[in-house]
């Protein structure tokens, strides 16, 4: 049986970043993915903020950082626009399939072993480690690792099999659907466009993430409890936009987005959870690529120490939780409060707010500044019942 210090399940941004950083630290690491190709199918809008590059210590490469974004435009239900141009809204739209392959190459060149079309069927704790049963092109083989990283995405089977309940509650999960489109016309290809309104996207928004002058990811995220499907909502919205409906669809993808309900403890004996599997997603905009990679880097540090000490218990791994919450988790919790506050507003409230809110307020809300949440709420003083409901979430 092949033995490794660490086995990673899932070769997405989180799993591959963990593989890369662990291999760099000299830890023996293997990474399995059940898909036959890394980077597909894409399940996201492919936006990555510029600040993430510095935080992660990676340089944008023109091979995958293909379209530069300088800002964001938010549209109210009646079409009023708020433009935001700030450091935080600068970034790129990725070719994610190329980006993930780039990460895989980095990991493999650093010494990680990667297997695709390898489905991890079973995980069983044994001899202070974990025995993995892996279906490799139809043959079942056993592997042994001291620590497993569950980076298996929103479907997250591995953590649940090893005793951490990562099941998403419907109220905390958004339903997403997206077309990559070409031959479309839209204004402002240097910014992302977010369209709000309960009629077009209940408890979420429609988006245009440009990938060129006439190409973009056109998608939607709606609340998981909504009866009608995300696809139906997106089709209706596109049909209402002349510039979009004339275009062609060159890629269809869907995905669930774990926007709330963070795991307090993402570790157990021999187990660390990262990325969508750990619900490491921004609750307001739904982005998770950079968060998954940052978590993976933190996890790699903690795991390398544990391997060095030959300690693989919950106690040896739980330091990852605190480091994560200090780095990102606590601010995401505040952003979740802002999300809950915003969810109380109907289209009419939203319209009256758009007239009063500044683009700075928007950025502060997106950062989870609760004081701004209170200020914004106070602007809705004409509806005292609503104000009370909204403030309740900011405590």
């Amino acid at each position: 049986m092949q033995k490794y210090d660490v086995a990673i399940v899932g070769a997405g941004p989180g799993g591959l970043m963990a593989a890369w950083k662990l291999a760099e630290k000299g830890v023996s690491v293997i990474c399995f993915d059940k898909k036959q190709e890394i980077g597909v199918p894409v399940r996201c809008a492919e936006g990555l903020g510029g600040a993430a590059f510095e935080r992660l210590g990676i340089e944008p490469d023109p091979a995958w950082a293909t379209w530069e974004i300088k800002g964001a435009a938010l549209y109210s239900p009646s079409g009023k626009k708020i433009e935001v141009t700030s450091e935080e809204t600068m970034g790129v739209v990725l070719e994610r399939r190329i980006f993930e392959k780039w990460l895989a190459r980095k990991a493999a060149n650093a010494g990680a072993k990667i297997f695709v079309k390898n489905h991890v069927r079973g995980v069983e704790r044994k001899d202070k480690g974990v025995e993995l049963t892996v279906s490799q092109h139809g043959t079942e083989n056993k592997f042994f690792a001291n620590i497993v990283i569950a980076a298996d995405g929103v479907d997250s089977i591995i953590a649940r099999k090893m005793g951490i309940n990562t099941t998403g509650k419907l109220i905390d999960v958004d339903s997403g659907f997206q077309y990559e489109m070409a031959g479309i016309d839209f204004e402002g290809s240097d910014r992302i466009h977010l369209y709000f309104g309960n009629k077009i996207a209940p408890r979420g928004y429609c988006w245009i993430f440009p990938k060129g002058e006439h190409e973009a990811n056109v998608g939607i995220g709606i609340g998981g409890t909504i009866q009608e499907t995300a696809r139906e909502y997106l089709d209706k919205w596109i049909a209402s936009k002349e510039g979009l409906k004339k275009g062609s669809i060159i890629h269809v993808n869907s995905g669930a987005i774990p926007v709330g309900g963070f795991l307090e403890d993402m570790t157990a004996d021999n187990l660390v959870v990262v990325g969508d599997a750990a619900h490491q997603v921004n609750p307001v905009h739904g982005g998770g690529i950079a968060l998954a990679m940052q978590a993976a880097q933190i996890a790699a540090g903690v795991i390398a120490e544990a391997v060095e000490k030959k300690e693989y218990s919950h106690d040896a791994l739980k330091g990852y939780n605190k480091l994560w919450y200090d780095a990102k988790g606590n601010s995401l919790k505040k952003i979740l409060k802002i999300r809950h506050m915003l969810e109380e507003m109907d289209d009419k409230d939203f319209e009256s707010l758009v007239d009063k809110i500044t683009s700075e307020d928007v950025m502060k809300l997106a950062r989870g500044e609760l004081a701004t949440g209170v200020k914004v709420t106070a602007k809705l003083v004409t509806a005292p019942g609503l104000v009370k409901k909204m403030l309740k979430h900011l405590k």
């Binding site: 929103v154 099999k161 999960v173 339903s175 995300a230 139906e232 995905g255």
Partner: protein
Amino acid sequence: MVLFVSDFMGVKCDTELCCYCGGCVGVCPKLALELEETKIAIDNEKCINCRACVLICPVGAMEMLE
């Protein structure tokens, strides 16, 4: 979570609609679903009829069995 008491138990997946995103798998409280590369494996013995997978599915591929 919506629970319906009824005679039928279980779900099915319309592969013509499914985009294999695994959203249904993530919200299934009973681990009755698993994403294979090009299908959703369903163990209806475990299904408790909660409809979470039906509601979350972005493309309407999951249906209750009748």
